[in-house]
């Protein structure tokens, strides 16, 4: 997995490529929580368009990012879900909990 970040206006976009699983979800969690709790970025946006697979530990990292954002009144947004990632969020009943958009333009325009 590779993860990098960009800053557009008051948003930080994390571009993730590869699978998110037990091997690397702690890294995702650490980056997200730092962006939310230390940098207090108003909008943290996860670009998952190049993530083919995400496991329950990856979902847990996203949930932690979401909860930390909500605790501080910030927004946490996902876009570009693969069929597998969408299925996992549906099966765990989390799809409606997250703010999810199809692409970056929608995510930033919301």
């Amino acid at each position: 997995m590779q993860i990098s970040s960009r800053h557009i206006d008051k948003a930080t976009i994390f571009d993730v490529a590869g699978d998110i699983d037990l091997a690397n979800s702690p890294e995702v969690r650490k980056l997200l929580l730092r962006e939310v709790r230390e940098n207090r970025t108003p909008r943290v946006v996860m670009n998952l368009s190049k993530v083919r697979y995400i496991d329950s530990s990856g979902v847990a990292s996203l949930v932690e990012g979401l909860k930390a954002s909500r605790d501080l009144g910030l927004r946490f947004i996902l876009f570009g879900l693969s069929p597998s990632a969408r299925e996992v969020l549906q099966l765990t009943r989390l799809l409606k909990i997250f703010e999810v958009y199809d692409d970056e333009a929608q995510a930033l325009g919301s």
Partner: protein
């Protein structure tokens, strides 16, 4: 050679006698069509190797794309649970995964099924921990077992001769009612 591939052993086809004895823990595997055995260490970086093998195997067996994702997800989550909870994150512990084709019968339906048996040598698992948590509360953790149950037709756990044996079944056709334990 890639470290992940070096640490993974793959056996395909008919299991030789020694392998059959080794897989006695999953007795049903030798009575049916042995397909594949993976031996690996409990290193999370190897999970992607197992997923890759599963994607190709399920595709070869004719599962739909959706079923293929389900099976891959279930095995990945089960291995993740073993690594985290049975081996407490140690990366050098042995894991075996057996894949077999179950012939059609009254319990698995007219098309047969794919049987996957995960074996580890960690401490026994409390069967009470196989209850998935409620999804009403939004919080991280505890989702893996739920995903396994959602993805497979049958799941079962046994402690046999010092090993944990976690058995997952996916019917070739969803013609039978689930009997998840």
């Amino acid at each position: 050679m890639d470290r992940a591939l070096q640490a993974t052993r793959l056996t395909m086809g008919i299991a030789p006698p020694s392998r059959r004895r080794a897989s006695k823990i999953g007795a049903s595997t030798s009575k049916n069509g042995f397909l594949l055995k993976l031996e690996l260490h409990s290193d999370p970086s190897l999970l992607s190797v197992v997923r890759g093998a599963l994607e190709r195997l399920t595709e070869t067996l004719g599962f739909s794309a959706s079923d293929s994702r389900s099976i891959t997800r279930a095995v990945d989550e089960a291995l993740t649970n073993v690594i985290r909870h049975c081996y407490c994150g140690r990366v050098d512990q042995p894991l075996e995964v057996y894949f077999s084709h179950l012939k059609p019968n009254s319990s698995v339906g007219s098309k047969g099924a794919l049987e996957i048996v995960l074996c580890d040598h960690g401490p026994p698992v409390d069967p009470a921990k196989f209850q998935a948590r409620s999804l009403d509360e939004v919080r991280p953790g505890g989702l893996g077992l739920h995903l396994i149950r959602q993805s497979m037709d049958e799941i079962a756990y046994q402690r046999v001769r010092g090993a944990n044996r976690f058995r997952l079944i996916k019917y070739f056709m969803p013609s039978k009612q689930s009997s998840k334990t």
